[in-house]
């Protein structure tokens, strides 16, 4: 098939459909496995999904995926029709999962634009063997005769109406495919699909090529017949049909111009009027379903655009209501209207935000599969418990937490949970539980991964950290929490794992990195013998934050309000300098380092004395520093924008998270407290 009719949007659509199908499939198989029986509904569903996958993949000429799906479909067709009494559930689900995994790998290749080169033959053989065994068990088989029916097809209603207006040639074509090319029906459909672009009117037989698999046999024996009307001349049509993949033989006959197509097909094809009414009937059905449908899928790009516009609007609103021209004027009515505007924009903002919110449930349900595979492999009985899966987070964020969650669960099963015998000897339940819990906490979402395994071993962590020279303060001064959080350091888990069981080459630092890239944080807590809990704290959204604007010299900076603990002007005797020329301040008996923002960012300012400026105490990940600025400007909602690509390409600036536009159109840099705090300590 020529590449021309497969374009980006089709691939995107295809991938979307496939992933959705696979997700449904996995859920169906997992629930069947749990109840250790495949219900009729489940079998039907799996059959249907596999059929869709096969059809769509063949359309896109991803043959390996299509043939894999084809055999699984065959298997389930047999199950559906024959209802064998004894199905070995685990073997069946293993087979399906193997197939699904194969398809997933291939889909990933499609997504990356790589060559689809996977070989499904060994898998297909397995499925065939299994099917043969099943068939033996249920000797009686019953075949239904394939029916030969003609179908008429109108590519486009409007085109059909215009047909009489323009000059057309009619053709009759019979196409034979090469033997053994498989799925002739789908290939035939692909031809029709392509033909729709150049021909006005298409009739073909056998009908139902997509829905009815028996047509494969008919096409194999009698060839695929089609009649079409088009403006192209004979040679062009010849070329067109010759492009078909696996074409063995082509008979192309040009029919006389004024001879109606219907005539050549004979009585079996209804007159055009009938077709039109049929199309109308279909349309009616279509409109009916449309009114019933309450969910639409929108591309994320459009939502991003909407979000950007929303951001612009928040800024414009501030530009109007805080316009310097209005200063000092008593404008009661204006203020009233401005308040109304503010109310509406913030409501609008919430709504736009909520559109982008997606429940965590799909991500959580994916973990069932991870748990199943791991527990089978390691022979540990693990049950996954989900709490609060309806918690919603921003679409962008969901993409970033799926991988970390998977790593955490793998780690928990691999290193945390003891073997069944060990558990029984310890007096625990043989079946261990991993709990995945999500909940809202202010402007954050907290996701907990809890296991009831043996917990983290402090001694081992410490010795490992000593080996790799990762300790940044004396051991006896470290709190439990600090010791546990050592496992998140890069270089900790890459070499040898604490539990001596080989890891998957994925360190906890990857988890931290992923979560931090969306502005979240990770912490871990553990009780020896009882289990450990990893806590992911993720912001609800990235786009709009509440920020405090501060001024240093002529520059304006924004600190996320969440990070601010307090701000104050120190007395002269409270500040001092240590031996490394690091400014410190004593507040209520606690000592905190001070970062002079004007020095840090090389800004000229007249305010260099702590007593003339202001100190803002900020906290991130339990570390506290004081930032020294000239003055506070006030608190606003700001829209986070990334720094221009050009600047990010040149250098990653530590301590700046992005920038934002202020009400007066000037730019303020948003401080990355995590970067500032971390940078100060090392």
């Amino acid at each position: 098939m020529s590449e021309s009719f497969i374009d980006e949007s089709m691939i995107e659509m295809y991938l979307f459909e496939m992933l959705q199908g696979i997700e449904q499939l996995e859920t169906a198989v997992l629930s069947s496995e749990k109840s250790s029986e495949f219900s009729l509904d489940a079998i039907n569903e799996i059959f249907r999904i596999m059929h869709t996958i096969k059809g769509a993949s063949a359309m896109m000429s991803f043959t390996s995926i299509a043939s894999c799906a084809h055999y699984i479909e065959d298997l389930f067709y047999f199950l559906r029709e024959q209802k064998p009494l004894r199905i070995e559930c685990s073997i069946l689900s293993d087979l399906v999962f193997e197939g699904v995994d194969f398809i997933k790998v291939e889909l990933q290749k499609v997504k990356n634009g790589d060559e689809i080169d996977g070989e499904a033959s060994s898998l297909i053989k397995k499925i065939e063997e299994y099917l043969a065994r099943l068939k033996q068990q249920n000797a009686a088989t019953d075949d239904t005769d394939p029916s030969f029916v003609q179908q008429s097809y109108v590519a486009d209603e409007t085109k059909a109406q215009n047909m009489s207006a323009c000059e057309n040639y009619s053709y009759k074509a019979t196409i034979y495919f090469q033997e053994g090319c498989e799925m002739e029906n789908v290939r035939a459909y692909a031809i029709i699909h392509k033909l729709k672009e150049i021909a006005d009117e298409i009739y073909f037989s056998p009908e139902d090529i997509i829905e009815d698999d028996d047509t494969v046999m008919i096409i194999r024996e009698h060839g695929f017949q089609l009649y079409c009307k088009t403006e192209k001349d004979y040679e062009e049509m010849q070329i067109f049909f010759n492009q078909t993949v696996f074409l063995r033989e082509l008979e192309l006959i040009q029919l006389e111009d004024d001879q109606p197509i219907t005539h050549s097909i004979g009585d079996q094809v209804p007159a055009i009027e009938n077709i039109v009414t049929a199309v109308e009937a279909v349309k009616k059905v279509a409109t009916n379903t449309v009114t019933n449908q309450s969910i639409i899928s929108v591309s994320v790009n459009k939502l991003d655009q909407l979000m950007d516009l929303m951001g612009e609007m928040v800024i414009s609103e501030a530009m109007v209501t805080q316009n310097p021209d209005l200063k000092g004027l008593a404008l009661d009515n204006f203020q009233k209207a401005a308040r109304q505007l503010h109310k509406i924009t913030s409501e609008l903002q919430d709504t736009v935000m909520s559109i982008r919110m997606v429940p965590l449930s799909t991500t959580f349900h994916k973990m069932h599969r991870v748990v199943r595979d791991m527990s089978k492999k390691l022979e540990k009985d693990v049950e996954l418990q989900l709490i609060g899966e309806t918690t919603e987070v921003d679409k962008n964020i969901i993409e970033h937490i799926s991988d970390p969650l998977m790593h955490l669960i793998r780690n928990a099963i691999d290193h945390g949970i003891e073997s069944a015998t060990e558990r029984i000897s310890l007096g625990k339940k043989a079946i261990s539980t991993i709990t995945l819990e999500a909940k809202n906490a202010g402007s954050d979402v907290v996701v907990l991964v809890r296991d009831d395994g043996k917990g983290l071993n402090k001694e081992k962590i410490l010795s490992k950290a000593r080996e790799n020279n990762l300790l940044f303060k004396p051991e006896d001064e470290m709190s439990d929490k600090e010791i546990y959080s050592l496992i998140f350091l890069p270089g900790f888990s890459t070499k040898e794992n604490i539990s001596e069981f080989s890891g998957r080459g994925v360190g906890m630092d990857v988890v931290t990195k992923n979560i931090e890239s969306v502005g979240g944080s990770v912490s871990v807590d553990s009780v020896a013998g009882v289990g450990s809990t990893v806590t992911l704290k993720i912001p609800l959204t990235l786009a709009i934050i509440d920020g405090m604007n501060i001024k240093v010299g002529h520059s304006c900076y924004t600190i996320p309000t969440i990070a601010i603990k307090e701000s104050f002007r120190p007395k002269p005797d409270e500040t001092f300098t240590d031996l490394d020329q690091q400014d410190m301040i004593m507040v209520r008996g606690q000592c905190y380092p001070i970062i002079r923002l004007h020095e840090r960012f090389c800004v000229n300012t007249d305010v260099k004395d702590f007593c003339q400026g202001i100190l803002v105490m900020v906290e991130q990940d339990g570390k506290i520093v004081c930032l020294f600025a000239d003055q506070l400007l006030g608190q606003h909602e700001v829209v986070v924008k990334p720094l221009p690509n050009y600047i990010r390409d040149i250098r990653k600036i530590v301590g700046i998270a992005g920038c934002t536009l202020l009400g007066d159109g000037s730019i303020s840099l948003i401080l990355d407290i995590g970067g500032l705090v971390g940078n100060n300590i090392t």
Partner: protein, 168 residues
């Protein structure tokens, strides 16, 4: 067929209007030219927000109708002395490989066409001094230095290494 011809013709003319056209501007005593296809717009100097830790020739970022773009002082880029901005100072917004960047120049002159026949290779006197210059255009008695935009934006590694060294 006739329709096809005319549309092709249109395309041709559209390309033609940009071909050999250069926007000329001055930095110091020299006149420079930049290919017109890169230029998005020309604006007056705007308040620039400084961004720390950047090479000195990148003055910071400006707000161009809601779009945030970095601005580069071409004077500093060419290692000339910094000159206070005045009302002749202009920002030429260029779009190179989907990167929008503002170039701060002393003043903008005009758009002129310099046919290929009038452009000569820069003389190979020293390697470093003319790396930004793609060619030299002759217009009457004057000489315009034609800039290579890609080189202008690409960071010269020598500088980065130097900067890093100083930080440590």
């Amino acid at each position: 067929m006739a329709e096809l011809m005319s549309s092709e013709f249109l395309l041709d003319t559209e390309e033609d209007t940009q071909k050999d056209k250069f926007l000329t501007f001055s930095v110091g005593n020299e006149a420079y030219g930049i290919e017109i296809k890169y230029v998005t717009e020309i604006i007056g100097i705007q308040p620039v927000t400084e961004v720390p830790e950047l090479p000195n020739y990148i003055r910071g970022i400006i707000n161009l109708r809601g779009k945030i773009i970095p601005v580069m002082d071409v004077r500093l880029r060419f290692k000339k002395e910094f000159l206070e901005y005045n009302d002749r100072t202009c920002v030429i917004v260029v779009d190179i490989n989907d990167l929008s960047v503002g170039l701060i120049v002393d003043s903008v002159a005009e758009v002129m066409s310099i046919p290929e026949t009038e452009i000569v290779e820069p003389p190979q006197v020293s390697k470093s001094s003319n790396k930004f210059i793609k060619g030299i255009g002759k217009v009457g008695n004057e000489v315009k230095l034609l800039l290579d935009c890609n080189k202008l934006l690409s960071e010269d590694e020598f500088n980065v290494i130097n900067d890093l060294g100083q930080e440590k």
